[in-house]
């Protein structure tokens, strides 16, 4: 029993590597992409903002699981291009496709959060900055963005926590992340224990995230 649990733990830990990779890479790509998408969404160019609006609505209106499948199988079915053997470094295309799918999906959610944050900054901040001689990019990065970060932090925390749990969707592309490993162990041992352990993994990870984000929020509370 104890050795069973130990070997399950090792298996999950092995899968957890992929969970972490998907999680980390998605955050790394989707947050800057989200900022860009938010900018595009607010563009005065109707075509740009219209296309971005459509993109956001598709990303939010269809299942992430389906989107992952489209990224992975789409190139083959649509263009007859097989990317199955494409490895970047030693990362399998399954993982790459998962990261692309997640990043593109989460960027849409982040974009809407950032847009709300950017639009909540009073016009007077821009006017004051402009008259003081700041360029547009200085105004954005020095004056606007720091205030936006503080405003959007609670919503961003929400998304990050959801992302931790969503990584389990990578199983549709047969990426052996933690949940896939837990399911395999559960059926080979005919026990629910591996799934419970997986739950604990997710819970602990989110607990750590909550602590970090709460600290960050407190740090930014030096003004209101």
């Amino acid at each position: 029993m104890v050795t069973d649990m130990y070997s399950t733990f090792l298996q999950l830990l092995d899968g957890f590597k992929y969970t972490l990779i998907i999680f980390g890479a998605t955050l790394l790509f989707s947050i800057p992409l989200g900022l860009l998408v938010a900018k595009g969404r607010m563009s005065r160019n109707r075509i740009v903002s219209g296309l971005i609006r459509l993109y956001i609505s598709v990303m939010r209106g269809t299942p992430l699981m389906l989107q992952l499948m489209v990224v992975y199988f789409g190139p083959y079915f649509l263009f007859n291009i097989s990317l199955r053997d494409l490895t970047i470094g030693n990362v399998d295309y399954r993982v790459t496709a998962t990261i692309i799918g997640f990043s593109v999906n989460y960027a849409a959610y982040f974009a809407e959060i950032f847009r709300g944050g950017i639009q909540s900054i009073p016009k007077g901040q821009y006017e004051a900055a402009q008259l003081l001689g700041f360029t547009r990019s200085q105004t954005f990065f020095r004056i606007v963005l720091p205030q936006v970060i503080k405003n959007v932090l609670p919503s961003v925390t929400n998304e990050i926590i959801t992302l931790v749990k969503d990584t389990s969707l990578a199983q549709v592309l047969a990426v052996t992340e933690m949940f896939t490993a837990a399911k395999g162990q559960a059926s080979s041992q005919s026990s629910i224990m591996p799934l419970v352990m997986a739950g604990v993994f997710y819970y602990v990870m989110n607990g750590i995230i909550e602590i970090i984000m709460n600290r960050t929020e407190r740090k930014l509370n030096y003004y209101n």
Binding site: G124, L131, Y222
Partner: protein, 251 residues
């Protein structure tokens, strides 16, 4: 020397004509107060002069540089981007609601543009900042954040921020309107001091006695036109126009 000149400036928002051809001049060392009822065009006038709104037609120059001019066909032409930046460095604006940067300390609010726009060293900028803080009676507030200050103190910080870049002319958009009465004193005193130093200023205000005491000249605006203009004491104590009389009677 004329630091501000406006000729026949017109501005409409949709169908509403807010400025119906305003002409005025402000000479170096002069303090001009602009008074009048709400909706009379005072703030729009100030926003047009400070590039925050674009005029429909007319001529504006600041510090001898043409900000906007209108050709024979009635089409207005603004200075190019480069020139605009140069013109903006010649004046400062103090907003009604301060518009301080809440995430910066008082010191950074004052020095940020000096360091990142005017390319001063941190030490030079700090020196400018320290002098201004003394002048504003805020010696110990350099490290405070705007949210920890009273409205009057915040407005003095924003005056310091506008003065930091050493402008030739300073605009005030109802600088005390957002303040509790007891907090206006400190702000008005600072502006008085500036007037004594012969700082060129254009002040939109509702404080009539202040306007009378500090301004050299007063303009009374209503309905998008300058109704009456004259030396400060005379316009306040002995207005000629009936609308001016009626407006002043309310104070």
């Amino acid at each position: 020397m004329k630091l501000l000149e406006m000729r026949n400036v017109k501005k409409s928002f949709d169908d509403l004509e807010v400025l119906k051809g305003i002409s005025l001049e402000v000479n170096q060392g002069e303090v001009l107060a602009v008074i009048g009822p709400s909706g009379g065009g005072k703030s729009t006038l100030l926003r047009c002069a400070t590039t925050l709104e674009t005029v429909d037609s007319g001529f504006i120059s600041i510090g001898g540089d043409t900000l906007v001019d209108t050709d024979a066909n009635g089409k207005s032409h603004y200075a190019d981007k480069h020139k605009l930046t140069e013109i903006r460095s010649k004046f400062g604006l103090v907003f009604q609601n301060f518009n301080l940067f809440p995430h910066f300390s008082v010191r950074r609010n004052i020095t940020e543009a000096l360091v990142h726009v005017h390319k001063m060293t941190r030490a030079e900028a700090d020196k400018v900042c320290d002098e201004l803080l003394v002048k504003m009676g805020l010696e110990n507030k350099g490290n405070a954040y705007p949210c920890n200050l009273s409205g009057g103190q915040q407005q003095r910080v924003s005056i310091a921020r506008a003065l930091a870049t050493n402008p030739e002319i300073l605009f005030f958009d109802e600088p005390t309107s957002a303040l509790d009465p007891e907090l206006t004193k400190g702000v008005l005193k600072v502006i008085r001091d500036l007037a004594e130093e012969k700082m060129t200023m254009v002040i939109v205000t509702h404080e009539m006695s202040f306007a009378r005491d500090v301004a050299d000249r007063i303009i009374f605006m209503d309905g998008g036109v300058i109704v009456e203009e004259g030396p400060a004491t005379e316009l306040i104590t002995n207005p000629k126009n009936d609308r001016t009389k009626a407006f002043l009677a309310g104070f």
